[in-house]
């Protein structure tokens, strides 16, 4: 049986008989907001609904103004406050004072505050920041269902300009039914998009990955999608001189630094024999002449596996660490190259308690696992303003 909306297809109406009206942006955004809220209410499309001011939106907006400016351990927050807890700075909250990489993010991040809901999952995309290579998003999720302490969010990012991307995600419960999260996406393409980025962020479900989660409340599908465009942060590039070292046929070169108001990106490349591609792992010690030590996060890399002729794979990767102390004159970076078996070691214990050590597998013949500290590379920052 058809309904009115289907019958509307059958009537020939002449759209030209209607005059378009002038529209101002303000009224349009008010209507759009109302529509979004209408959708979020997940209710059925019966008559007009009185517009209700969303508490969530107000809370999120307030949270953004409350950016935390004090450094120190962790962050005080009302973990189980009566109402929705307000996480002033999701970046720092999730970092938990561990690396400090994200300490400055909230200050420069752009407020997005889009709310969408489907199937009982309400997602507020709070903030976004794009440093020219990596997009970081923070979000707050509200749901009546319990997804455990650290659920998994099934999300996807679409960016036209990128040929590939790598990502990480961090989602944590802050009170019953409320989660805050951060996702980082690093994009790879021939040319960097350093002015702006427009992306579509879609969520297709949320999963309780705790042991003991029953099958039925494990995964809840939903269909949410956010389209956002963000300007990239300003940046200054620093070239790195005398930037190479080599250990065990693995050559590392530090190519450049990109200094943004919130963080520092180190671009480096490695040239590795094909057979060792999966075995190489880098560790970095980064400090400045004032004694500050910078912890970092890896963002993955891209490269091409070499052909038979060269037998070498060349990769360019990026690590991110926090903004360099403005008073520092020199940055000192010491790479350590590790060769690690792709399948790690381990122990099996049989019924009688006999332990059998796994042999290290994965390293090609004639290659031993180990660590090689490379030479320290000094980067002169005196020219950087």
């Amino acid at each position: 049986m058809k309904d009115l909306y289907e019958f509307f297809n059958e009537i020939d109406i002449d759209p030209n008989e209607f005059a378009e009206a002038e529209v101002d942006e303000l009224e349009k955004s008010r209507v759009k907001k109302r529509v979004r809220e209408g959708i979020a209410e997940t209710g059925h499309p019966s008559g007009p609904k009185k517009w209700r001011k969303s508490k969530a939106m107000t809370a999120a907006a307030a949270a953004m103004i409350m950016a935390v400016g004090i450094s120190g351990f962790g962050l005080a927050f009302p973990a189980y406050a009566k109402e929705v807890p307000v996480i002033g700075d999701i970046f720092r909250f999730l970092d938990d004072g561990r690396t400090g990489v994200y300490d400055l993010y909230t200050e420069k991040a752009l407020d997005i505050n889009m709310v969408k809901a489907d199937n009982g999952i309400e997602v507020t995309l709070n903030q976004g920041i794009y440093d020219g290579r990596t997009l970081s998003l923070t979000y707050t999720i509200k749901t009546a269902k319990d997804f455990g302490e650290r659920p998994y969010l099934d999300s996807r990012i679409d960016v036209d300009s990128a040929q590939g991307s790598a990502g990480s995600e961090h989602l944590k419960r802050v009170s019953p039914g409320v989660y805050v999260g951060q996702s980082n996406y690093t994009f790879f393409s021939e040319e960097e998009a350093r002015d702006a980025i427009s992306f579509r962020w879609g969520i297709s479900g949320m999963t309780n990955i705790e042991e003991g989660a029953t099958e039925e409340n494990k995964k809840t599908p939903c269909k949410l999608s956010f389209s956002v465009a963000l300007n990239a942060l300003d940046f200054t590039e620093v070239r790195i001189d005398d930037n190479q070292d080599r250990a065990r046929d693995v050559a590392i070169s530090l190519n450049r630094l990109s200094l943004t108001p919130i963080n520092t990106l180190l671009y480096y490349s490695e040239i590795v024999p094909n057979k060792l591609t999966h075995a190489v792992q880098m560790d970095w010690e980064i400090k400045d002449d004032l004694g500050n030590i910078y912890e970092y996060e890896e963002n993955g890399g891209q490269g091409k596996i070499g052909d038979e002729m060269t037998g070498m794979t060349e990769m360019e990767s990026i690590i991110t660490f926090k903004r360099i102390d403005p008073r520092a004159k020199t940055l000192l970076i010491t790479p350590t190259m590790k060769l690690i078996p792709t399948r790690g070691g381990g122990v099996t214990v049989d019924e009688k308690g006999h332990e059998t050590q796994f042999s290290y597998e994965g390293l090609p013949k004639g290659v031993t696992a180990g660590e090689w500290k490379m030479k320290e590379i000094n980067i002169d920052l005196s020219a950087v303003k």
Binding site: K2, L4, E6, F8, N9, P15, E20, V31, S227
Partner: protein, 190 residues
């Protein structure tokens, strides 16, 4: 932009950015239709509420759009906008005005407006669907134009190439059927 071509498909797919796109594109048209109808009430707030209701309806009923391409979609959207605007207008006036130009001779309703109102203005009730489905295509089109779009008989007759009296006749029959339907459904159900 990718969006441009397949926003209708993506709307049906429940992708919200397609709706965003549609709102940007058709806002002036929808506003034109809605504000024209609601002009006498003179409330900007009501106009905005109605516009958002139109887009919400587009969102919720997207899968019922059966047309092909942008032109059909535009027509479908106009139909919804017109219907919603009239609906809002009537609600605001707190009474159901049976289109009055031809009230003489079809004085069926005044006392029964509330029974009829129940059905007519709950677009999605099973009863309404039943009635609409029971009409012939022409009767149904006339009925929708008359009751949901509040079009005068003259205009309907021009549109459909019928004489005005033919249109009036059909309206009369539909109304009778409607009242009968309401009555019998009222007795049978609940």
């Amino acid at each position: 932009m990718k969006n441009n071509n397949d926003y209708i498909r993506r709307l049906k797919n429940k992708e919200e950015d397609a709706l965003e796109f549609i709102m940007d594109k058709y806002f002036p048209l929808v506003k034109g239709i809605v504000s024209h109808v609601l002009l006498p009430i003179g409330s900007q707030e009501l106009v905005e509420e109605c516009i958002s209701d139109v887009f919400l309806a587009v969102w919720h009923h997207a899968e019922k759009f059966k047309g092909d391409g942008e032109e059909d979609f535009r027509k479908w959207l106009c139909a919804i906008a017109k219907y919603k605007a009239i609906d809002f207008y009537r609600r605001e006036r707190k009474c159901v005005e049976i289109p009055s130009s031809d009230r003489e001779g079809i004085d069926l309703f005044p006392s029964q407006a509330s029974a009829e109102e129940q059905v007519l203005f709950k677009e999605n009730t099973r009863e309404m669907r039943k009635l609409l489905n029971s009409f012939s295509a022409t009767d149904r089109n006339i009925f929708i134009m008359k009751f949901f779009w509040d079009m005068p008989s003259e205009e309907i007759s021009r549109k459909l190439g019928l004489t005005k009296s033919a249109v009036d006749n059909r309206i009369y029959r539909s109304k009778k059927q409607l009242v009968k339907g309401v009555m019998s459904l009222g007795e049978g159900g609940n």
